[in-house]
């Protein structure tokens, strides 16, 4: 079941609830983690863009990982990072052209979006449906 997050900047009000939801959903030992989603300025007043991993077809993060810690999850279709395998060389953080592999300095971990194993917290908490989780066919159709 391949689903994707559909990001609609026009609906985003910049409340950053998705960042909070992400931090708590990926908390380490009860401490909030670095958010995998980052709400950025869209280049115009009151325009916000939640930037989140695109789970590319030909991902630079997985290609740059020399220990194969980033692999595609066959169930969700997302590119998942295996924390136990990661050697923290920062190759993926530098190689991702969208900056969606991040370093969590508080927990000393490299982190990236894993679509919450098929149940993304950001989409559940988005009050305006700027982030929705839909099957990939629906996602492609809405993109035109």
């Amino acid at each position: 079941m391949n689903h994707r997050l559909i990001v609609s900047p026009l609906l985003c009000i910049g409340c950053r609830t998705c960042e909070l939801a992400c931090s708590f959903a990926h908390a380490v030992n009860g401490k909030p983690a670095r958010s995998r989603i980052d709400v950025k300025d869209g280049g115009k007043k009151d325009l916000y863009v939640p930037v989140v991993c695109l789970h590319c077809e030909d991902p630079a993060c997985a290609k740059s990982c020399l220990v194969n810690a980033i692999t595609r999850n066959p169930e969700t279709g997302s590119m998942d990072l295996d924390q136990d395998k990661c050697v923290k060389c920062m190759a993926c953080v530098s190689a991702c052209p969208f900056g969606c592999s991040l370093f969590d300095s508080q927990h000393d971990l490299v982190v990236k979006c894993d679509l919450c194993q098929g149940d993304p917290a950001c989409a559940k908490f988005c009050p305006t449906k700027a982030l929705v989780y839909r099957p990939i066919q629906v996602a492609l159709r809405s993109a035109g």
Partner: protein, 258 residues
């Protein structure tokens, strides 16, 4: 799938899986210092030793390093039997003689009831426990910059001929994954020094923040087909660029209406 018994509990495991992974999945805490998921098991520290037997073995038992022992059907595993505990204490006793000042070893030994070594400590101790995680990660990543040299009490981890290693790209994977933080490096945000080799860091063209080393980026560009322009700016600037592009695209229909 195979079925085995661990500490009296029947568990299932994938064929070919190592015992240690199955034991850890059961939430049983046994020490393992040379284990890292990125590299092949090695069996250097010997602390993950467990007792195994089978119904058909007529009471015979064996002690094996669980990180190197693949699961078997009907295996009966005991992770904390008296003999296993005694073995672990002996190993920690020896480790304490080699690394008497290493906090990780001191703590682990104390947890097992060994507070001081019964052997003669080495005259000039250091923090290296010779687990080989650094060299194995370096080999797995494909650099082969460092290796273990000499044998016996003279064994150590070093670059070839104790010179700055030509194959090192300064990724710091060896130092950051060292369980005892023995491998030292310096990083001032512009320049990084490890194994006496000096590296320049890539500076983001927009924010001025440091990234990975120039040598590491060149390796990824050449061997992993990553376009060179991906390394020009850091992750923060990449996200800003993506947001600006997506923001502009979202305005297309809007401009027509107004």
């Amino acid at each position: 799938m195979v079925t085995l018994t661990i500490n009296g509990k029947v568990v299932r495991a994938e064929e070919g899986e190592m015992l240690l992974a199955v034991i850890k999945r059961q939430g049983i805490d046994i020490p393992a210092l040379c284990q890292h998921d990125a590299v092949e098991p090695y069996g250097a520290c010997r602390l993950c030793m467990v007792e195994i037997t089978k119904e058909s073995w007529n009471g015979w038992k064996n002690h094996v390093t669980s990180c190197l022992y693949p699961v078997e059907q009907d295996l009966i595993v005991n992770t904390h039997s008296e003999t296993v505990q005694e073995l672990r204490r002996t190993i920690l006793d020896l480790m304490l003689a080699r690394n008497p000042e290493t906090p990780l070893i001191q703590q682990l030994a104390a947890d097992h009831g060994v507070t001081r070594t019964t052997y003669e400590p080495v005259p000039e101790p250091n923090d290296c426990i010779l687990c080989g995680i650094c060299t194995r990660i370096c080999d797995t990543m494909g650099f082969h910059a460092i290796s273990s040299v000499n044998r016996g009490h003279g064994k150590e981890i070093a670059p070839p001929l104790h010179q700055p290693p030509p194959d090192c790209v300064g990724c710091l994977a060896c130092a950051l994954n060292c369980p005892t933080n023995f491998i030292k490096f310096t990083d001032n945000g512009r320049e990084r020094v490890i194994w006496d080799k000096k590296f320049d860091l890539i500076i983001c063209e927009k924010t001025g923040q440091p990234g990975i080393t120039r040598e590491f980026a060149d390796y990824l560009i050449e061997h992993r087909d990553i376009p060179a322009e991906y390394f020009k700016v850091n992750d923060e600037s990449h996200r800003k660029e993506l947001a600006a592009t997506m923001g502009a695209i979202s305005q297309w229909g809007q401009e027509k209406e107004s």
